[in-house]
């Protein structure tokens, strides 16, 4: 997994609540056996019209937000389907941080498997950032080590994050490799379970 330490990038505002993973990446892009190349499907119905032409007023199509690396969004971002294609598409597009007041559980968890940082700020902070992002200067700085977001005008917002998740994100750790270090505990668990719940092992 790619590590996330610090990001200085333009922020794009997407002031909608309940942006679900069907909107982040619609179904027709899930018929792939690869992780790569999903940027083309990101926010497809918001970015493109029925003929596949870019909608000029959608935020990520506007020239001033070209190269956006951060999104600031409404409440409950990432609700709905568990599709990990959602964080894959965001990352493939170049977005490696999403800021909101809240995230749906599965999406939030999927982000941490891929080095996409979901940042939870208070409602008034998200609102302030949203307003600034609409202005002329959109450069924000997200620092995971310091747990801060610095807005274009220099306001600093602190955020909370689980220390275990932070550690893994900063170092880009492979969860499977780490869990396999506890393989002996898994063996022991399975042996004890075979005695306590033998019907689960076909007895």
């Amino acid at each position: 997994m790619r590590p996330f330490t610090r990001l200085d990038a333009p922020v794009a505002p997407l002031p909608l609540a309940n942006i679900d993973t069907d909107q982040i990446i619609p179904k027709q892009f899930l018929k792939t056996v690869d992780r790569a190349g999903l940027a083309k499907g990101l926010f497809y119905d918001l970015r493109f019209d029925g003929e596949g032409k870019a909608k000029p007023d959608f935020v990520l199509n506007r020239p001033e937000y070209k190269g956006a690396g951060v999104l600031v969004c409404g409440d409950n971002f990432g609700c709905g389907s568990s599709r990990e294609h959602a964080p894959w598409a965001l990352l493939d597009f170049g977005i490696s941080c999403v800021i909101s007041t809240s995230f749906a559980d599965i999406f939030y968890n999927n982000c941490f498997q891929n080095g996409l940082l979901p940042v939870v700020l208070k409602a008034h902070e998200v609102q302030a950032l949203m307003e600034e992002a609409k202005g002329g200067n959109h450069l924000v700085s997200v620092d995971l080590e310091a747990q801060t977001v610095v807005s274009p005008s220099g306001q600093t917002f602190a955020f909370e994050i689980d220390p275990t998740r932070k550690h893994k994100m900063l170092n880009g750790l492979d969860a499977i490799g780490e869990t396999l270090q506890a393989a002996k505990s898994i063996d022991v668990y399975e042996m004890k379970r075979a005695i306590a719940h033998p019907w689960l092992e076909g007895a």
């Binding site: 609540a17 069907d22 792939t32 599709r83 990990e84 809240s102 968890n109 898994i186 306590a196």
Partner: protein
């Protein structure tokens, strides 16, 4: 991060919720930060969210740890006709490749697989319980958010992403921090026409689509106890639409009666042993929940959704709300956008919404009881000389080959087809429109599925969620209709 093995396998059970009990029984080791390695009893897989996981395993040269604890089906992509022709005949090239990739992966790993066309195949959340693979007290995962369905059996069942699918394949465990406990108690008796779907939508309407975020929900109360297993599955299925990853109903005699004799349930002495364990799976009287919500089933009416979020619910005798009536500016903006997308006007009676399509199916409502309930409404209409309204295209997609077979044994297919419904082969179908079944732009659909998101059933498609009975009534009436007038 070092993990500590646990000193005792099963800590004493006092003052615990059902979730606490299942969690504690599955912790393999825990780290100081609160994250645990949680053992997984059953891993359900399908074609869409697994190819990248198997590719990851191959790249790292890692085997599947417990192929015998894994079950594969083909459901999301499959066409709902011509399945007997096999995967090679699937017209959509990308879908075909994904189905073939699954076939190859499960063969290499030695995982049991019900391929497309096998009578046991169907929607993963219909197949697991039907086969008896889903059992009380288990931890169950699947790369699909509606895995919450299996909580109906008192199993801790949750949707995971593809990286976690890979993690479970490699280790048979999941790394997770514990959620909080939320109990939703539904008292009273549901009136005629009010189904498990209505209870679930009412709960979501009450707490909102993010109301359950960070929680595992346990459903309790008289109205929940009165539900069949099919009803409990519908209720738990929609838990994810309330933001909670898992929903639970404590197992009881209804559960045990459903399970007895299914292919994968324990037999003989194993059954007795399992049963005595399953009977310990309930929340203790002195267990403390972090949050409690109460609803009265007797006060409910059949409900439908008017907007583009499952929390946008209204009683069938109600009207489309005015966006100005919402307190928060965010919700007002969402409601305005939803009305525009849905082509509805504030204040219009919801029954005045004319429909083009009807979809009876999905992991929410495609089980035999759902089909019986819908067929009953349709039979009454037939008796009165009515059929599906001429401008409506209606389809029924059974949840599995076995459900389809059972329905045909009971003659339900004849009732549906006599009334003008299209009787299809099993799969996820138009719930998410990954296969050829989808809405055209602007089409309005009465749907028994689980998500009314923009574009979910097809770009520009307009979805109204409701129960199978309500969807059947809508098909006959040609507009959203109150099923109570059909009973």
């Amino acid at each position: 991060m070092p993990f500590r093995p646990l000193a005792s396998y099963m800590p004493p059970m006092t003052g615990k919720t059902l979730y606490d009990k299942i969690w504690d029984a599955h912790v393999v080791a825990e780290a100081d930060g609160g994250e645990a390695i949680l053992y997984i009893d059953l891993h359900l897989i399908h074609e869409v969210t697994t190819p990248q996981a198997f590719a990851g395993l191959r790249a790292a040269n890692r085997p599947v740890r417990r192929p015998d604890r894994t079950l594969a089906v083909a459901d999301h992509n499959v066409p709902t006709e011509g399945q007997a022709l096999g995967v090679g005949a699937v017209a959509d090239e990308e879908a075909r490749l994904q189905l073939q990739t699954l076939e190859r992966n499960v063969k290499d790993a030695g995982i049991e697989f019900f391929p497309m066309g096998d009578i046991r195949n169907g929607i993963v959340h219909v197949v697991g319980p039907e086969q008896g693979r889903t059992q009380p007290g288990m931890t169950i995962v699947c790369g699909d958010s509606h895995t919450s369905t299996h909580g109906a059996f008192g199993a801790l069942a949750q949707g995971i992403g593809t990286s976690e699918v890979e993690h479970v394949l490699a280790t048979q465990t999941l790394r997770q921090s514990k959620s909080k406990n939320l109990r939703v108690t539904i008292d009273g008796t549901a009136p005629a026409g009010v189904t498990a779907k209505d209870l679930a939508l009412a709960v979501i309407g009450e707490i909102g689509t993010a109301g359950g975020t960070g929680y595992v929900i346990e459903y309790a109360g008289e109205a929940v106890r009165a539900l069949s297993m099919e009803g409990r599955m519908t209720l738990c299925n929609l838990t994810i639409e309330a933001g909670a990853r898992a929903g639970l109903v404590a197992p009881d005699q209804t559960t045990f009666d459903y399970m007895r004799g299914r292919p994968a349930t324990p037999k003989g002495g194993g059954w007795e042993m399992a049963l005595s364990y399953w009977k310990t799976l309930f929340s203790d009287a002195d267990a403390v929940f972090d949050r409690e919500v109460r609803l009265d089933a007797a006060a409910l009416t059949p409900v439908v959704t008017w907007g583009t979020s499952p929390e946008d619910v209204v009683g069938v005798d109600g009207r489309v709300p005015d966006p100005a009536s919402f307190a928060s500016p965010g919700k007002r903006a969402s409601a305005e956008r939803a009305l525009e997308y849905m082509g509805l006007v504030a204040g219009q009676p919801i029954t005045s919404a004319k429909i083009d399509r009807v979809f009876i199916g999905s992991c929410t409502n495609s089980r035999i009881e759902d089909l019986r309930a819908a067929a009953k409404v349709v039979q009454k209409a037939l008796d009165a000389g009515r059929r599906v309204a001429p401008h409506v295209r209606a389809m029924v997609v059974p949840g599995s080959g076995l459900v389809r077979h059972q329905a045909e044994e009971e003659g339900l297919d004849d009732i549906f087809t006599a009334a003008g419904f299209d009787w299809r082969e099993p799969g996820c179908s138009m719930c998410l429109g990954m296969n050829p079944d989808r809405l055209a732009p602007g089409e309005r659909c009465a749907s028994t599925s689980n998500r009314n998101f923009e574009g979910r059933q097809g770009r520009g498609g307009r979805t109204h969620l409701m129960s199978p009975e309500m969807a059947a009534a809508a098909a006959i009436a040609g507009h959203i209709a109150d099923v109570r007038e059909f009973l």
